[in-house]
Structures are given as C-alpha cells and as structure tokens.
C-alpha cells in the first residue's frame, strides 16, 4: 500500500506543537512506515507538493497576510486539514495582542522597548502585513479537525493520526485527550 502523504506547516506559533508530535517517541518509526511526511518546517521541502497530500497539519494562529496565504495553500493541497494547538484552534498566545490592538503591540515591541534606540517598525513588502485581529485557522479556511492544547498531548496526535489511518475521521477527541491547557 502506498504511504499516506502528510504535510505540516506552522503559522504564528512557537513550534511547540511540532515538538509534541515528535513526543510520540518510538511510535514515530511505526508512523513513518505508514505515512510520508512530504513537507514540513523541518524538512527540505517547505511547501506542500502541488499534487496534494491527504492530511495537512497546521500549527499557529493567523496573525498576518502571510499566514493566510500559507493556510489557504495548505487547504487547497490537502484533503483533510487539522488545526493543532491552542493558537491554531483559538488564536492562542498571539491573540493576547487583540487585548491592546495591533498598532499598540507593534509600537511596544519595536519602538518603546527599553533596549531600543531609534527603533523602526518593520515594513517590507517581503513581510506579511499584520492583521487587526489574531484568530484561529478556522476563521480563514475550513478545518476538518481541531486538536486544542498548549501543546496538544502527544497521545492526541497519535490518536488522531491512527484514527485517520484506520479510515475514520475523528470529530472531537476523547475527553482525556481534550484539553486547552
């Protein structure tokens, strides 16, 4: 049987969810017998292949226009999209910015920080434009499965992936794996 193709990527996140995926420990060997990780932030290939993958996994919140592009591309190229972690599901730590507003947050970070001399807010065309509101991935693309948690338990990843490999799409995780904290 051909391996199931999986692509992962991160948006406004901390990489913690990817670390938690690796925390499935030796089970990853078994997983790699069944799936092919085509692209991820830690592989050479950074974007999901044009021919598409079966499962796309996104970590991190939607924070700027670049995040939207990445999320949309992943959505177009995968059949089942999983949002992992509290940032991708709810907005998470980056969404704390909503409490003060984007302008205020940029000002505090780049101009008013105590160690800054002659600060400048980055404003290059190369960079995504910060959004007014930080949101979860579900605000910009359709998400098939949400796995909250900061980070989600390794067992939650394992449960979701093994369920998918068995041909079932979990709707909500079992209670013991379903946490926000």
């Amino acid at each position: 049987m051909a391996k199931v193709k999986v692509a992962t990527d991160w948006l406004a996140g901390c990489a913690g969810c990817h670390m938690s995926l690796l925390d499935i420990d030796e089970r990853i060997v078994k997983l790699l017998e069944l799936v092919e990780i085509t692209s991820s932030p830690v592989t050479d290939l950074k974007h999901p292949p044009k021919e598409g993958v079966t499962v796309g996994i996104l970590e991190g919140a939607i924070c700027n226009t670049h995040n939207i592009e990445v999320a949309k591309q992943m959505r177009e190229r995968c059949q089942i999209l999983i949002a992992v972690g509290d940032c991708a599901t709810f907005g998470g730590i980056p969404a704390m910015r909503n409490l003060c507003g984007t302008d205020e947050a940029l000002k505090r970070a780049y101009l008013d920080t105590e160690t800054v001399v002659g600060g400048l807010i980055p404003d290059s065309d190369e960079l995504g434009k910060p959004l007014e509101m930080v949101t979860g991935v579900g605000e910009v693309v359709k998400v098939d499965l949400f796995i909250p948690g900061c980070p989600p338990r390794a067992d939650a990843f394992w449960y979701a992936l093994t369920e998918l490999l068995a041909g079932r799409v979990p709707v909500i995780l079992p209670r013991e794996l379903f946490t926000y904290d």
Binding site: A83, D86, F90, A95, M133, G138, V171, I172, Y180, D181
Partner: protein, 594 residues
C-alpha cells in the same frame, strides 16, 4: 414532606414539593450542568446553561429556577438541549478573554469544564476585541474583568450571603460590568474583603493573590478545620500542597457560618509575618539560648515543683484548644492546687447557667439587641448574619459607643445607661435576640435578664476559646504581685508583654509557651515553642458553646509542638499522668465542658 413525582430522561424521580428541577436531578444523581447557579446562592437563571426540555413547555427552561410539579416530563441531555448549551457556550466564549492557558483557574474553571463537556474545540464567533480593566486595588485578591462571565455569583454572594451589598452590575448586555459601590476601585469601596465572592467565582475573574498559580485543585488537599481567629468558630477548609498552606476557604457544610468567612479568618492568618519560635529556649547566664525539649521542660518542672501553690501563677491566652486549657486546669489547678490563674482577655458576663440561644437565631429574629460588643471588628461573621437579618426586616438596636461598627446600620443607638429603652422594645418584639459582650456593665447585665424566656441570648465572647477558658476557671482573678513562677500560655496571641511581667515582680521565673517571638518571649526564662492553628489538632468551643474539631493540616515549624502536648509533656516531667492520647484528653475535656 409532600413528594412530587416526575420523569427525568425516562427515569421516575420523586423529590420534595418546592424543589427545582436541578435539585430533583441532583437527588436522583442526574447531572445537569450549571454556571451561574451555586448551592449557597439564590438561583436567578442568568447563564441558561442548565436549560432542559420540559414536555408541554413552549421553550427550553432553566432547571435551576423551575419548580417541579406532578407528572413533569423532563429531558436533560436531548439533542435540542445539547444544541442550545453549545450555542450558549459559544456565546459565552465569544465575549472577553476566555482563553485558558494563561489563566490562573485553568484546570479548575467551571466554564472550561463546560467547554470540555460539550466539545468546544474552536471559537465559532469572532472573539474578544477589547481589553477590560484588571482591578488589583485590594490587598488579598484581584478582579480581572477579562475573565468575567457576568454570572452574578459574586454580586449575589455579597448581597444575599454577606449582606454587604458592595458589588453590583451596571449597564446591560455585552457592556455589563461588575462594579463596587458607585463604580469605585474595589480597594476604596465598602468591601470588607471577606472573600466570599472569590470563593464562589466560577472562572478566573476573581483570583487570590497569595495562592495564584500554585497548582490545580487536584494537586491540593482540603483539610476541614475550625477557624481560631475569634469566638464564632467558623468551619473552614485549609488548602495545602506539599506541606504548605496555600489558602483558606469557607466550609459550606459548617452549621455555624454556612461557608462564610471574614478577612480575619480567610486571609490574615496567611499574611502573619511574625517570627516563629522554632525551638525551646532556656536562659543560661542571663542569656536566652537554644535548648533541648528535655532540658527546657526539666528546668520548668524543677521551678514549678519546688514552688508552693501560692507562688505559682498561670496566665493563658484564649487562643488555645479545649485540650490545652483542660490540661492546664488539671495540672495547675487540680494537681498543683494553684488558684492564681488568669485569662489574657476579658470575657462577657455570665448571665445564665444554661444556653439561651444560638447564632442561628440571629437570622430568624425581628429585633436584634447588640450590647457591649462590636462584631464588625471582633466577630465579623456575626455582623454578616446581623446585616442579613436587617435585610430581611429585623431592627437593630446598638447599645455601645458611637463608633461601634454596627452603629450606621442601627435603628437606634443607645448608651449603656439607657439599655432599659432597648429592653422595652425587645419585650414587644416577636423573636428578639440579644448579643452581648464584655462591654456590658453589671447593672445592664441585670437588666437584660428581664428578657429571659422571651429573647434568645448569645454572648459574643472576646478572644477565641474564651468560653472554654472561663469554664475551666481561667477568669480574670489573676494577682501578679504574689507570683514567683509564672506559666504563660501565650500561643499565637499578640500582646505587649512588658506590663504583665512588671506586675509579676522582679524575680519571678517566667515560662512562656508561644508560637511567635514577642517582647514577652524575649524576657522569659524558658520559652516553649508552640504549633500554630494549621499545625495542631484538637477542639475549640465557640461562643454559643458548640465544641468543634480543629485538624492538623501541615507539620509544625521546627521543634514546635501542639499546645496540649507541651502541657502533657510538662505534666509527665512533674510526675503527673494526665492522659496519654489526644483522643482521650479530648473526650475528657468535652465531658467537662458539658
């Protein structure tokens, strides 16, 4: 009791008439989720998470407010109900900041638990867009409006339970805000920092400053005990983790206080910064030096053993367990025949031999006569009960000074000399209650006796275990001048010791059994370290005469020992056998107190 029969999820349930659907469900073991409802509060049906389907009703109805009637058919978890609850949760999560990982309450939050229960795994509606203020102007706990779900539990606790009416809700809909008085910072409001609102808050909106981020409830131990800060003896739970006391919460099951605590009981004991006495101290060559228990007790026993009964003086704090006071009486008064014994605080005059009322009578009364005591200052939980009774229509007459804390709430303020006027009013009332303290003069006490049989009488004793101390004969007959050996059970009491010692004469040998370093311990010849409230077991007698258990929550600091054990060890050294175990001593002390 009339029983009403209903059907819940197809199961036949019967519950007393007048029960709500929620109460009936609880009895039958059917779990209906709640958020704004709290067993101690009057239900208002604000959050609507408890909605259920009732056959024949046009819409879903709130289980917490709907009374059951014969034949009601209820579905508590039908598809329609679950759909409605999910919608309510989505709406609750869409306002303000209900993002869990950086919230103090994460893991113990009732809102979060509902999210888990109904599988809320992402926000349906656009989330919060604005920050709300955080009010940290109170010393002990803060209010983070961002975490508030406007359930109104705090407001109802403040008004309906504590009768303090500091908290209110202003504006409507999404702009509603919990506020204090006329929207002033909490720290400048009429808030008495009793912390009842903190205890009932279902989310992280109200947060204890001292124990914040110190772990989840599952990692903590709750040890039921009795508060020793005043003579009311409120039931409390000492919350500990890893041998440290994190916080104190009210025990909802306690008969005396029904879950209420005051600032003095809930917070102050945890902010005590006095230095502990951690080991026995013995004066050698004019200097107080560390010693072993053996040496310290031997020194005390030698001096006491060689003194005659007239030369021995005993002073005790009322902040001691029944067991300690019993042993102190047994050892010094019964065995050593000392009669020069005293108490470090006043006591209310003894009006009757038998109890003539209980604190529970306050809430049922129509006229409350407060004479010679200031419960607002000394027994705050009693003042909550009084104010609650005023809310229900009772009239308060304060017979005390103008600066009595209850004076602003009184229908009439009188001088002690005019107490007869108050007695006249009480005589015409249906259910009068007299609360009297140490400030009642002999004449006034005589006048009050006129109300015997008519009124319920409850003394509000100053100090803590004053009632037991007086029962064991430690009243204020202490004459310092004759004392050659003074044994002082100071315990946790804060007292300026100099005048006690001056009176005791220059050459008196002073033994102090104390928990904290104070001027008195520094002048003592022997200091015996004593465990504090959280470190000892035993019992306390409250002001109405109920004997209540105190339990040990953590290990004593250093070499400190429980109050009763110190006296028991001393008795052993003096060759007097006064009971071996705490259980045995407790039983005998309780027997004597009856």
């Amino acid at each position: 009791m009339t029983m009403v029969n209903i059907t819940m999820n197809g199961q036949k349930v019967s519950a007393p008439a007048g029960s709500t659907i929620l109460q009936a469900a609880k009895q039958a073991g059917i779990d209906i989720p709640t958020l704004c409802d709290h067993p101690a509060l009057i239900p208002v049906g604000a959050c609507r998470i408890c909605v259920v389907e009732v056959k024949g009703q046009r819409t879903l109805i709130t289980a917490c407010t709907f009374p059951i009637t014969e034949g009601l058919e209820i579905q508590t978890e039908s598809e329609q109900v679950v759909k409605a609850r999910k919608l309510i949760l989505d709406l609750l999560f869409s306002e303000r900041n209900h993002y869990c990982p950086y919230c103090e309450m994460s893991g113990d939050c009732e809102l979060q638990n509902l999210g888990y229960r109904y599988g809320l795994d992402h926000f349906i509606y656009p989330t919060y867009t604005k920050g709300f203020p955080v009010d940290a102007t109170r010393k002990y706990f803060l209010m983070d409006h961002n975490r508030c779900v406007l359930c109104g539990r705090c407001e109802r606790a403040c008004g309906d339970l504590v009768a303090n009416h500091t908290l209110g809700l202003r504006n409507r809909g999404a702009s509603s805000m919990i506020h204090a008085d006329a929207n002033v910072p909490f720290g400048q409001s009429t808030c008495v920092s009793c912390g009842t609102c903190l205890q009932v808050c279902p989310t992280g909106a109200l947060c204890d400053k001292r124990s914040a981020y110190m772990g989840h409830d599952i990692q903590m131990e709750h040890i039921k005990s009795t508060c020793n800060q005043c003579s009311i003896g409120c039931g409390m739970e000492i919350v500990t983790r890893g041998g440290n006391v994190l916080r104190i919460v009210g025990d909802w099951d306690a008969a005396v206080n029904g879950g209420l605590l005051c600032k003095n009981g809930r917070f102050d004991p945890l902010y005590d910064e006095r230095k502990r006495v951690t080991g026995p101290l013995l004066r050698r060559g004019g200097k107080l030096q560390q010693a072993s228990w053996e040496d310290a007790l031997k020194a005390v026993a030698e001096r006491i053993g060689s003194a005659n009964a007239k030369e021995i003086g005993v002073l005790t704090s009322s902040n001691a367990t029944n067991e300690a006071l019993y042993l102190l009486n047994q050892l010094f008064c019964k065995e050593l025949k000392a009669d020069n014994v005293g108490l470090l605080n006043d006591a209310a005059p003894k009006l009757f031999e038998k109890p003539q009322g209980a604190l529970a009578d306050i809430i049922k009364s129509d006229v409350i006569l407060v004479a010679g005591c200031d419960p607002v200052k000394d027994q705050p939980v009693a003042s909550f009960l009084i104010k609650h009774s005023i809310d229900k229509g009772a009239r308060l007459i304060v017979v005390d000074g103008k600066d009595n804390g209850l004076a602003p709430f009184a229908y009439m303020n009188l001088e002690m000399a005019n107490i007869s006027k108050a007695i006249d009013i009480a005589e015409r009332a249906q259910k009068p209650v007299v609360l009297y303290g140490a400030g009642v003069t002999e004449k006034a006490a005589g006048a009050l006796k006129k109300l015997q049989g008519k009124a319920a009488f409850v003394s509000l004793e100053p100090g803590v275990n004053t009632r037991a101390a007086v029962s064991f004969g430690f009243n204020n007959g202490f004459k310092p001048s004759a004392v050659k050996v003074l044994y002082t059970l100071l315990g946790e009491q804060n007292i300026e010791g100099s005048d006690v010692l001056k009176k005791a004469g220059e050459n008196a040998f002073v033994v102090v059994q104390a928990s904290f370093v104070s001027p008195l311990t520094e002048q003592a010849d022997v200091v015996l370290p004593m465990a504090i409230w959280s470190e000892r077991a035993g019992s306390l007698t409250n002001t109405e005469g109920s004997v209540q258990k105190v339990n040990k929550a953590v290990e004593p600091s250093g070499e400190a020992k429980p109050d009763w054990e110190v006296i028991s060890l001393l008795a052993d050294k003096l060759g007097k056998k006064l009971g071996a175990s705490l259980g045995e001593i407790s039983a005998r002390a309780t027997q004597e107190l009856k």
